[in-house]
């Protein structure tokens, strides 16, 4: 028999334990719920709500005060008050009517309900009747009776309901007719105060003080834990982007940005001065705004900025501080740390333009993204693509000069000193420094470097082919040369003075100005004869050179050669060139020999080599090692691949693929690129390496702003398969982009203003006007436009495609008063076509770029037009050159030759131009004869009935008849211009 009192444990103790553990469990469950409920973004939203209430209240108060001061509103209020009094006076039984209406309404509701219910029963009875009659059911009779009875009932009820409705509306009409004026005034007053009322409504939605009791309770309850599942005030806000996908490696998911859960004021202009995270986006017209091209609904936030859009915590969103100061602040405020689990963290503010390339990757520059464009242009100028394959530059010419005829241009000594330290000769050169860097400036490395350079120079001179520099046929004059250099157009791409020691902040303008090498110090570098030959025909020395032919006369070329030759860099000349050191050279040679043979074989081979052979061998290996051929044409290296890392998608590179070595910097892509560009060899620090294992990227001595720009561009080089909406696929945009590439490749903007940018040469034209034309400083500034190459705005609309093609192919003189010349570039067919298409695409003109306008005239019309053209009316020839007739006055007032009009200009453009020249070329000196403000009375009234459009048409048609010989114009005008041209109207 078991003992019922037997126990293993004391039940009392167990109960106590049970009680304690239950309390603990309750505590932990509450903790769990709170942990789930309390989210930092809710605090942020609460903060914003307070700010919103404050803001709305301020606006409301302002609006209210304004209304109180508004006399119209005051008047209306008064009228309303009076009308209400009148209403009470006129309708004394007003309250009775209202009471009656209420009673009638109740009766009506009941009648309606009765009618509806009975009708429902009728419908059911109808079904039963149909069913029974079809199957001849035994209870057919009964069913029929029921159906008929109900039908009758429904009809009665319908009449009753209608009558009740009528009574109700009668009473309502009575009331309304009495109240009409009040209602009308109320409507008017509401219209005036609509903004205030709107603000009030908003306020009563968000401000508990403005709510009634029930709503206040409801607002509180809807945010309570668990109950907040339905429709809370504070909830995660998100933008789902269906068209943009996030690549999570094994699949893609639609991008979801929850940034606006905290950045609540981002699209609201009212929060311009609020603190983060509520601040308005600084550029709502371009981004975020509803009507902007990058609206928030379409593109979200992280597409441009990077970061983890789905996160709702500060660190999880992969925020990146803009600078050290912000980093410290964030660490303090948000316990910020780098979020390592997201490959694409937010771009720091200074590199934010890199995000543009995610969609605009087809374009090489992006309007408005100045830093990005500067970066791209530095990459092009510095020739990064020479060593680093970048897809979009695959077909670009080598950035450095041709070294295949180096023997005829340079001396070995100069070449040695140059390679050793190019910046000693020319501090603004884009030739980077390979030697004297942080990983090869110890005495032993310097000794080795010297011998390496000697070997490379030896190889280059050994492999150089002959180029016959022409002797100067006439004696040059340096001062004349200086004038030619300043006037003929050299300064669009070159500078010819020692580079300033203190570097200015680099801009794209500078890059255009320094497109070609600085011409200072040529005397220390080459011979007069070489300069002369080069100027006369650059292509004969280097077939692929971008230096154009300026069609200089022998005298001009000789003058320039004389002028440039007299500049020397004496410091550079004073440097010494070391002799060949055989022990070091042997080491270099054998280091390369043992790569594919044994030490013994190498030793044997070395003893058999002469010094020249050693230099040649080492030179060849070293040119390959340093990748000189990436930028220069060198014989023997025509088909060897460049040595650098491919940069086409460098921005998408995984951080694990970057070797930070022993350098303690942030492990971010931008920190790596920044460090690499500032000191390309730094990652060798602390490493033990053989000479040919060392890093070899050369140093461009870039300033911080240049580095920032390049890093921005590189970060932008991303793979963008996740974004399907790629606008650059538009053929017009593509044509423009291709044209822009040629424009940049040949520095067209050095002379011309294209797409509103460029015209770098104007500075030197102005200088020329002061120095050689005897103008005062301000005068020169005023007339510089007239003496500079033309602004090419609207060029596609303006000139015939055929003419443009031919002109680019073989330039002719249009503006004889200009000293600056359009050079001959000897473009190939592809270039020419692309440029013609580009200018036409800019002006939205489509293939085949032809305008069909009849410009034929009858002899009477011709006479009339001639009159308009003459001095009595418009006096066109007083500025414009006509054939060989030069107008009077000074050259700064001259205008292009009319004889070219027929072949050059599109008639449609001429009309538009005469109508309003300022619209097409703001600032032009062409007078506005037909004032667009009062066009109808602008022209002379005595010709063509004062019809301005006709006058312009006559003038235009007249221009089309002018040729080199103005006297023959009459005969040419007689026959219709061309049979195929369609009549104008």
């Amino acid at each position: 028999m078991p003992n019922p009192d037997e126990r293993h444990y004391n039940p009392k103790k167990l109960t106590v334990l049970f009680a304690i553990s239950s309390v603990l469990l309750l505590g932990s469950v509450v903790w769990m719920l709170l942990d789930d409920y309390i989210r930092p973004w809710k605090d942020t939203q609460r903060e914003f709500r307070a700010l919103e209430i404050e803001n709305t209240r301020i606006q409301f108060d302002a609006e209210n005060t304004a209304l109180e001061k508004d006399s119209e509103y005051q008047k209306l209020s008064q009228q309303l008050e009076e009308a209400q009094k009148k209403f009470k006076r006129d309708c004394p039984d007003y309250s009775n009517i209202e009471k009656k209406i209420a009673e009638l309404k109740a009766a009506d509701d009941l009648a309606q309900q009765q009618y509806k219910f009975t009708k429902a029963e009728l419908d059911a009875a109808k079904y039963r009747f149909e069913e029974a009659s079809t199957h001849q059911a035994p209870d057919l009779k009964q069913v029929t009776q029921e159906y008929e009875h109900l039908e009758q009932q429904v009809n009665e009820l319908m009449l009753k309901a209608e009558a009740s409705q009528q009574r109700l509306s009668d009473q309502n009409n009575r009331l309304n007719s009495c109240q009409e004026q009040v209602k009308q005034l109320e409507r008017q007053s509401r219209q005036i105060s609509s903004r205030r009322d709107l603000l009030m409504r908003k306020l009563s939605g968000i401000d508990p003080n403005e709510m009634n009791f029930t709503n206040r309770i409801a607002t509180m309850v809807r945010d309570l834990p668990i109950l907040d599942l339905a429709n809370p005030n504070y909830k995660i806000e998100q933008i789902v982007l269906k068209d943009i996908h996030e690549d999570v490696n094994f699949m893609t998911v639609p991008k979801v940005d929850r940034c606006i859960s905290c950045h609540l004021g981002i699209s609201d202009p009212d929060y311009k001065n609020a603190a983060q995270p509520f601040k308005t986006h600084p550029n709502l017209d371009l981004y975020v705004g509803k009507d902007s091209p990058h609206s928030m609904e379409e593109l979200g936030c992280t597409v441009c900025h990077g970061g983890r859009g789905r996160s709702t915590s500060f660190n999880g969103a992969a925020h990146t501080p803009a600078d050290e100061e912000q980093k410290k602040q964030w660490q303090k405020d948000y316990n910020w740390h780098r979020f390592e689990l997201w490959e694409e963290p937010m771009l720091p503010l200074k590199y934010v333009e890199a995000g543009c390339f995610k969609c605009h990757s087809g374009q090489s520059t992006v309007k408005g993204a100045e830093k990005l464009n500067l970066g791209v242009q530095i990459i092009e100028t510095a020739g990064c693509y020479g060593c680093h394959l970048i897809d979009k530059y695959a077909d670009w010419p080598k950035p450095g000069p041709n070294l295949q005829h180096i023997k005829s241009k340079l001396s070995k000594e100069w070449a040695f000193k140059w390679v050793k330290n190019p910046h000693a000769f020319r501090s603004d050169t884009w030739m980077p420094a390979f030697f004297g860097q942080t990983n090869n400036n110890d005495p032993e490395s310097i000794q080795r470097s010297d011998q390496e350079i000697l070997a490379m120079v030896h190889y280059l001179f050994e492999n150089s082919t002959e180029y016959e520099s022409r002797a100067l046929p006439v004696k040059g004059d340096a001062s004349r040369g200086e004038e030619v250099v300043e006037s003929v157009g050299c300064m669009a791409c070159h500078e010819a003075h020692p580079a300033p020691t203190e570097k200015e902040q680099l801009t794209r303008e500078h890059l255009r100005q320094e497109f070609g090498p600085n011409l200072f110090g040529l005397g220390s570098k080459t011979s007069k004869e070489w300069i002369f030959s080069w100027l006369k025909d650059p292509k004969s020395y280097h077939k692929a050179t971008r230096m154009p032919n300026l069609r200089l006369t022998d005298q001009e070329a000789a003058d320039i050669a004389e002028y440039l030759y007299q500049n020397r860099v004496s410091d550079f000349e004073g440097q010494t060139v070391p002799a060949v050191d055989l022990t070091v050279l042997d080491k270099i040679v054998s280091d390369h020999l043992i790569k594919n043979q044994t030490h013994d074989q190498a030793k044997q081979k070395l003893t058999m080599m002469t010094q020249d052979e050693k230099l040649h061998f080492a030179g060849q290996k070293l040119i390959q090692h340093y990748g000189c051929y990436g930028c220069h044409n060198i014989s023997g290296f025509e088909s060897i691949k460049p040595i650098g890392t491919e940069l086409t998608y460098e921005g998408s590179k995984n951080i694990h693929n970057l070797d930070f070595a022993f350098i303690h910097i942030d492990h971010t892509k931008w920190a790596f690129f920044d460090q690499k560009l500032k000191d390309p060899r730094i990652f060798d620090k602390g490493k033990v390496k053989l000479p040919d294992e060392k890093l070899k990227m050369p140093n461009y001595y870039l300033s911080q702003n240049e580095v920032d720009a390049i890093v921005t561009a590189i970060l932008g080089f991303v793979e963008t398969h996740t974004i399907e909406k790629n606008k650059s696929e538009d053929p017009r945009a593509q044509t423009i982009n291709e044209g822009q590439r040629i424009v940049r490749q040949f520095n067209c903007q050095g002379c011309h203003i294209i797409e509103g940018e460029g015209g770098t040469i104007q500075e030197s034209v102005q200088q020329w006007l002061v120095d050689y034309d005897g103008r005062a400083e301000n005068e020169a500034q005023a007339m510089v436009n007239s003496f500079s190459p033309p602004n090419l705005i609207g060029e596609g609309q303006k000139v015939h495609a055929q003419w443009l093609f031919e002109f680019l192919h073989k330039p002719t003189t249009i503006r004889p008063w200009l000293k600056v010349r359009m050079p001959s570039y000897e473009f190939n067919g592809e270039h020419l076509n692309t440029l013609v298409k580009y200018f036409n695409a800019l002006d939205n003109s489509e293939f085949p770029f032809v305008e069909e306008i009849d410009t034929s005239m009858t002899p009477e019309q011709f006479q009339l037009a001639e009159k308009l053209f003459s001095k009595d009316y418009f006096g066109c020839a007083s500025c414009h050159i006509v054939g060989n007739q030069i107008p009077g006055g000074s050259p700064d007032s001259w205008a292009p030759n009319f004889a070219l009009s027929k072949t050059r200009l599109k008639p449609g453009w001429i009309s538009e131009w005469i109508k309003n020249p300022q619209k097409h070329l703001p600032g032009t000196k062409m007078p506005t004869y037909f004032d667009p403000a009062n066009f109808e009375s602008a022209g002379p009234e005595d010709l063509l009935n004062g019809d301005e459009n006709e006058q312009i048409r006559y003038l235009r048609n007249y221009l089309m008849t002018l040729t080199d010989k103005p006297s023959s114009a009459k005969q040419e005008a007689a026959p219709p211009a061309s049979a195929q041209e369609a009549p104008q109207k």
Binding site: Y9, W31, D35, L341, N654
Partner: protein, 371 residues
């Protein structure tokens, strides 16, 4: 302090730690009378008293307390993935001690011709209400609290979207597979990943058929089944739990060994200088090149395997395992010894690797057949 850390880093190197543990193990869990005698003499069994348990716990607490002052140690121990393994160290120690305590108490009673403690419990009844149900309920609540607090306190260690071109370094298996992953260092995948796991399962299934010792059923005892307990404990503690701990805390980037106070430097390089048995014999021993014929080249390895699996059971039957052979009979004895030898192969191979840089005993990479 640094010197202590340095010393600990040094001795946790498996070449030192593993043999030390094996030797210590023989004395703590003696499998025959010889070691038992030493155990008694050194009073190691005192570990299984309350005082001993306190000492074990104190030692662990002190070690972790000291360790957590070091940033590297802290980073690794407090990683949400690794916290359960820290718990495992304490739990395994505690239950090991608890079981051994009861066993050693029973051993003492049996030596005094008393019945075991469990025998004193009434055999027919369990007090269910309220005793059992009540404490089960309380345990349930306590476990719930633990799970809730743990899940709120330590966030789930989710990582970035998996990227096929970037594998995590080190790439670690789930903690319960770390023992298998550690075996991969010493054996080819077909052995470590396929044969061994299968044999482990089959071996465990065969335990009831191989162990015919009637003593020690229904009560804790060590001395009555010292062979069985110590063999099982060796595989459980040394070859499973220990390898999990090694895999979790001491294996860093590139699967290199790092002491508990060492920085996990991804650039750390270790020289790989392992050689195969055939190379030992032909190149180092006989000073000649490897024969082209695979069989000729690997015959020494096969010979070793033949001796190990073919002759060893016979020799053992006559010597060390004479008694067992007698009690099990030839068939069960052969299964038992083959299983035992296979299991011992792992520590042996580990030892050979560390001591002689031995890579493979039989190496036929031509057929992916390496042992």
């Amino acid at each position: 302090m640094e010197a202590v850390k340095h010393f600990i880093n040094h001795i946790t190197n498996p070449q030192i730690l593993f043999p030390t543990l094996v030797v210590l193990y023989l004395f703590v869990f003696p499998f025959n009378d010889f070691f038992l005698k030493i155990n008694k003499k050194l009073r190691i069994y005192k570990l299984w008293t309350n005082g001993g348990g306190l000492a074990i716990m104190l030692f662990l607490l002190l070690f972790f307390g000291f360790g957590l002052t070091d940033p590297n140690f802290r980073t690794i121990m407090t990683k949400p993935d690794n916290v359960p393994i820290v718990g495992l160290i304490f739990l395994v120690s505690f239950f090991l001690w608890f079981a051994m305590k009861q066993a050693s108490e029973n051993d003492a009673r049996i030596a005094n011709n008393q019945p075991s403690k469990e025998a004193e419990d009434s055999k027919e009844k369990v007090l269910v209400w309220p005793d059992l149900v009540y404490i089960e309920l309380i345990c349930l609540i306590l476990c719930s609290i633990l799970l809730i607090v743990w899940s709120v306190g330590l966030k789930a260690p989710l990582e970035e979207p998996a990227n096929p071109s970037v594998s995590p370094n080190p790439s670690k298996a789930p903690w319960y597979f770390l023992g298998l992953q550690e075996m991969l260092v010493y054996f080819d995948p077909w052995l470590a990943g396929v044969v061994f796991p299968t044999v482990i399962i089959l071996g465990m299934m065969s335990i009831p058929f191989l162990d015919n010792n009637p003593k020690g059923t229904g009560y804790y005892s060590f001395e009555q089944r010292k062979m069985a307990v110590s063999i099982f404990m060796f595989f459980w503690l040394v070859l499973w739990v220990f390898l999990i701990i090694v895999g979790t805390f001491l294996r860093g980037p590139n699967w290199n060994f790092f002491g508990p106070f060492e920085v996990w430097d991804i650039h750390k390089l270790e020289a790989l200088t392992n050689v195969n048995l055939s190379e030992f014999i032909y190149m180092i021993g006989l000073k000649r090149s490897l024969p082209a014929n695979i069989l000729l080249r690997e015959m020494w390895g096969f010979l070793v395997l033949f001796i190990y699996f073919g002759l060893m059971p016979l020799i053992l039957a006559k010597t060390l395992l004479k008694d067992i052979y007698k009690s099990l009979g030839p068939l069960r004895y052969s299964i038992f010894t083959v299983l035992l030898l296979m299991a011992s192969g792992l520590p042996l191979k580990m030892f050979l690797r560390w001591a002689f840089n031995l890579k493979y005993i039989v190496a036929i990479p031509e057929f992916f057949f390496n042992i």
